[in-house]
């Protein structure tokens, strides 16, 4: 009898809980209708097919070289990249001499020398990328108070939340390219602001922007600003893809070797667990459990 009463009670409690939940969610929707709070980014990033996506991802070396060119000729005017060393460029297929020549175009302060004086010298491959400003304050002063962020980790730090249930699917589809997708979308996403959106002074409307409807940076790319010598289209779309891929490399230089090692580890663990499974089965075969 007691069990029956309890079962009844349980079903009642469950019923009330469900009803309560429905009422609560109803009020939630009503509240959303009244005052829509905007969620940023206003538009989710576009999905690009990246050569480094998926379990067997590889860098597209040509793309990374083009990305470096876009960074050097356009982005580097405002953005530093101070966690990356010039020597790392060997991963992009450049020779030591090429890297030396590239680094030598920048000046670093070194010292003190034997006289106790600081001095300027050309950068060498073991130096980190030299930024456009001596410090954050200078960067702010030159850009209406908003310092351009350092490029080194942007592809890993600027990642819009995927939201439920997408992040569950991401585990199985191995989608981890949110960063470069976001950068590409932002760079190609500048449009005129809709009439109902007020854009602050010195800001530029972009529905893909992560933390607002407008950002301090104006559209940085336009067609034909960078000359490509490999015949790739000189369009904003191509520039954005190339520089986003380059930024992913800058943020995670070991991405491709990580995946390559991962494949070996997974294969080993699969075979090993298979062998263990049959061993265990054999051992337990004489014991009912």
């Amino acid at each position: 009898m007691k069990v029956n009463t309890m079962k009844f009670l349980v079903s009642r409690i469950a019923g009330i809980a469900v009803a309560f939940g429905l009422i609560m969610s109803g009020t939630a929707f009503a509240a959303e209708d009244e005052a829509p709070t905007p969620h940023y980014p206003l538009i989710k990033p576009k999905n690009v097919e990246w050569s480094f996506g998926g379990p067997f991802g590889k860098w597209d070396i040509g793309q990374l070289q083009r990305g470096l060119k876009v960074y050097t000729e356009v982005c580097a005017a405002c953005h530093s990249m101070n966690l990356v060393a010039y020597r790392s460029l060997s991963a992009l297929g450049y020779s030591n001499d090429q890297i030396k020549a590239y680094a030598a175009e920048y000046e670093v302060t070194d010292g003190p020398d034997d006289e106790g004086e600081m001095f300027q010298r050309p950068a060498i491959p073991s130096d980190q990328f030299v930024g456009p400003y001596p410090n954050v304050q200078a960067a702010k002063a030159a850009n209406n108070g908003a310092a351009p962020p350092d490029f080194s980790l942007l592809a890993k730090s600027r990642v819009p939340l995927r939201g439920f249930p997408y992040y569950v699917f991401d585990v199985f589809t191995m989608y981890a390219e949110n960063g470069p997708d976001y950068i590409y979308s932002l760079l190609t996403g500048y449009v005129d602001a809709p009439a109902n959106v007020e854009v602050p002074e010195n800001a530029n409307y972009n529905p893909y922007f992560l933390s607002g409807s407008a950002l301090a940076m104006a559209a940085p790319l336009s067609d034909d600003v960078v000359d490509y010598d490999d015949g790739s289209p000189q369009t904003v779309d191509q520039y954005a893809k190339d520089v986003a891929a380059f930024m992913m490399w800058a943020a995670e230089p070991d991405l491709v070797s990580r995946k390559a090692m991962g494949f070996k580890v997974m294969i080993f663990l699969l075979i090993f667990s298979g062998l263990l499974y049959f061993t265990k089965k054999r051992i337990w075969s004489s014991v009912k459990h």
């Binding site: 069990v3 349980v10 667990s273 265990k280 009912k288």
Partner: protein, 426 residues
């Protein structure tokens, strides 16, 4: 189980050593001859998996500490130095970082297994309490470890969490100052967190040894909840349990490796790849996923508790939240005495089984709400689920034991196993 020892030293040196320090005898009795119930399912392999994760965290952590610099001006760069310049530094760091998450995945499964099979009941109360202490030490270790990379979430997470302590009356501010080494999160904070983050894991090792010792005194529970009655009910630890644990560990490592190599940043906050900036608050400060249910409980208390019809506030909402959060953990300690049922396993407790699964859903729900902004419907839902969380421990567990009519319990493990395998009782 503590009883006679079946160890027979074979070599002359073995005999000599056994008479002086019977270490080999201890290992043999604990991990070779030790009898385990023959009906343990795979949920019982998480103890071994947790030992493995503890070792992984210790080894990777010790090597990471050789390259890490606990100084606010260099910590962030030193982590990036590990990622970029140290040989296989990225692997060590991703193992350690994801290892924390997988440690918690394993510990949560281990704890819920304990709830389901009533593993905390007489005579295993001390075993359970030691486990709760390990869990709390793990949370402290994980929290301090998350501060070390000195990213935005590190800094602001530390600021928010240490701020809880100011809610404690009279001594709160002093405790917070002591924790931070000053008025705000700064270099002294990072230094002491690094020191403690290195210390606590070894304290965990110590409590784990006690936990395993207590386990070997009482013996393991099993899915039937019936105690081992004869040798027939058990199999020797080696090869049976060793092989089963090894398989489970390897499968667990397979999932772990998938995340390390293919989704290494999936479980982390992207904001933490931004250098800590005390002048720039992130739009949302969210702790790591394994703290989310407790974070939801903390934020669910949005109201002051006072004497009705007066303006006297006894517990303001902040202190109430902190008490609820710590209470949600500390209540684990008294679970062995809150559960009044004599029957251990949920298998024979039809009502408890339903409430167990409701409780699991409540915890997952709290985790979901912990990641949501504390406003509107989310707060209301968090309050309902927080209420149920405590209701489960304080009301359901004691009452169920009194009114529930359990299913018939098998006479022995062997009988249950034979019945399951369709063999007639002999």
């Amino acid at each position: 189980m503590s009883g006679h020892s079946a160890y027979v030293p074979k070599s002359g040196f073995g005999k000599w050593m056994d008479a002086r320090l019977p270490l080999a005898r201890l290992v043999y009795d604990s991990f070779v001859a030790y009898p385990v119930p023959r009906n343990l399912n795979n949920w019982y392999t998480f103890g071994a998996i947790l030992s493995l994760m503890l070792v992984v965290q210790l080894l990777t952590g010790i090597v990471l500490a050789m390259n890490y610099v606990p100084n606010t001006t260099m910590a962030f760069d030193s982590v990036e130095h590990i990622m970029r310049n140290v040989n296989y530094g990225w692997l060590l760091r991703y193992m350690h970082f994801n290892g924390a998450s997988f440690f918690f995945i394993a510990v949560y499964i281990h704890i819920f297994r304990g709830f389901y099979y009533g593993s905390y009941k007489n005579p295993r109360e001390v075993l359970w309490i030691l486990g709760v202490i390990i869990f709390i030490l793990m949370m402290a270790t994980a929290f301090m470890g998350y501060v070390l990379p000195w990213g935005q979430m590190s800094f602001w997470g530390a600021t928010v969490i240490t701020n809880f302590f100011t809610a404690i009356p009279i001594v709160g501010d002093s405790i917070q100052q002591l924790l931070l080494g000053g008025a705000v999160v700064a270099n002294p904070t990072l230094n002491r967190f690094f020191s403690l983050h290195y210390l606590l894991p070894f304290m965990i090792v110590g409590v784990v040894i006690l936990h395993v010792w207590a386990l070997h005194v009482t013996g393991q529970t099993n899915p039937t909840g019936v105690e081992v009655k004869s040798e027939q009910d058990t199999v020797p630890f080696t090869p049976y349990a060793t092989m089963k644990d090894l398989l489970a560990m390897t499968v667990f490592l397979l999932v772990f490796a998938y995340f390390i190599f293919y989704m290494p940043n999936f479980l982390g906050a992207p904001e933490n790849y931004v250098r800590a900036d005390s002048l720039k608050t992130p739009s949302e400060i969210v702790p790591e996923w394994y703290f989310l249910p407790f974070y939801a409980i903390l934020r669910a208390i949005t109201f002051d508790i006072g004497i009705p019809f007066t303006d006297i506030v006894l517990i303001n909402s902040k202190l109430g939240g902190v008490m609820a959060m710590f209470g949600s953990l500390l209540i684990f300690f008294v679970v062995p005495w809150l559960d009044t049922s004599k029957v251990r396993s949920a298998t024979y407790r039809p009502l408890f089984k339903q409430f167990f699964w409701i409780f699991v859903l409540v915890c997952i729900g709290l985790g979901y709400l912990g990641a949501k902004p504390a406003e509107g419907i989310y707060t209301t839902l968090a309050q309902i689920l927080t209420f149920w969380y405590f209701f489960h421990f304080i009301v359901i567990l004691p009452v169920l034991g009194l009114i529930e009519k359990p299913k018939p319990i098998p006479a022995s493990i062997t009988e249950a196993v034979l019945a399951k395998n369709g063999v007639a009782k002999s």
